[in-house]
Each structure stands twice: as C-alpha cells, then as structure tokens.
C-alpha cells in the first residue's frame, strides 16, 4: 500500500492506517517533545494531537 492510500484511509479514521502512520512518525514526535534534554510528557501528548490534526487537515 502506498502512502497516498494509507493517508486516505487514515483520514477515514481507519485504525490500522493510523497506527502505521503513527509508527512512521513516532521518532519525530519524540524528538520534538524533548526540551533542554528532558522528555516532556505533556508536550508528547500534544504532539500526538498535532499529528491527528495534520492527517485531517492535509489535502490530497
């Protein structure tokens, strides 16, 4: 399955597609949740919301 199909399914809230995208971008979210070398749990949660927001918002 290519990324376009994956994203289309994720937009329709398909759990498996969402999981795949989540696995793909987890390292990025972790990296951007580290402040001054300390992992910020609250920020990490916010980053997940950002990911979901981006999936919904992007136009295919």
């Amino acid at each position: 399955m290519n990324f376009m199909e994956l994203l289309t399914r994720a937009k329709e809230s398909n759990a498996q597609a969402l999981n795949e995208i989540a696995a793909m971008y987890r390292p990025l979210l972790i990296k951007e949740s580290i402040v001054n070398g300390v992992f910020d749990e609250d920020l990490y949660q916010e980053q997940w919301l950002t990911l979901i927001y981006c999936i919904r918002k992007i136009r295919i």
């Binding site: 971008y25 951007e32 402040v35 609250d42 950002t50 990911l51 981006c54």
Partner: protein, 138 residues
Amino acid sequence: MWKNNENNGADESNILHRQFTVYLATAVRRTKIQHLRSKYKIQRYEIPFEIEDTLKEFQAEPDMILSLPLVDQLENIKLQRALEQAKKRDLYIFLSKVLEGRSFVEIAAELGIEYNTATAAYYRMLNRLRKELGGEDE
C-alpha cells in the same frame, strides 16, 4: 524511519509523503514553541507558595527562552510570523539596518548587491511589517 531513503519523490504518492512530512514537522515544531510559551506564561503569573523554589524556576525559564533563536524569542505572534515569512536576504538587510545600525552602503558592499537593491529590500520589509501589524507603528 520517517526519513525514508526509498522516497525519490518520483510519483505522486512519494511527493505527498514528503509534503506531509514537511507539514507535520512544521506543525510539531510550532506546537513545541507554543507549549513552551504557555508554560512560561503560567509560571510567570502563578502565585508562588514556596518563594525559594520559585526563584530557582524563574532563573531557569528566561535562560530557556533566551537560548532559542532570535525569531522564537518574540512574544508577538503576528510579528514572528511576518519575520518568518520574509526572504532571508531581506530579513538580514532589515535586521542589520535596525539592530546593528549599519548603513545601506556597508550592507550592499558586504552582500555584493546594488545600493538600490538594499534600500528596496529594507522598505519592502518595513511595509510588510506595517501591513502585518495593522499599521500600529505608523
């Protein structure tokens, strides 16, 4: 894994993948800045229970803000956005003129451009900021 080496940007799906990655990376960075900013604000206005504890935190927070790049230190979101959207060269000319007080002749000589180009870039930035900020400074 998100930096996918197999992605050569050839077909539509790969292009979309790249676009999505860039979009997400920007959004995520913005979330981080926003989070830091609101955390900083809460700590600034909170009523301290233990004065000694708070003093330590007060010392830590401004350091964090100051260690960010210049553009991220700004509190005015409109201004920040305007500066981020500007061309790098225009921004450089503008900041050299405003912050370092250098003359157009110096700046033009350094960048190897015409005097008129430097002034044009400066006034372009000025107009853009006026527009973005709703003409408050006029």
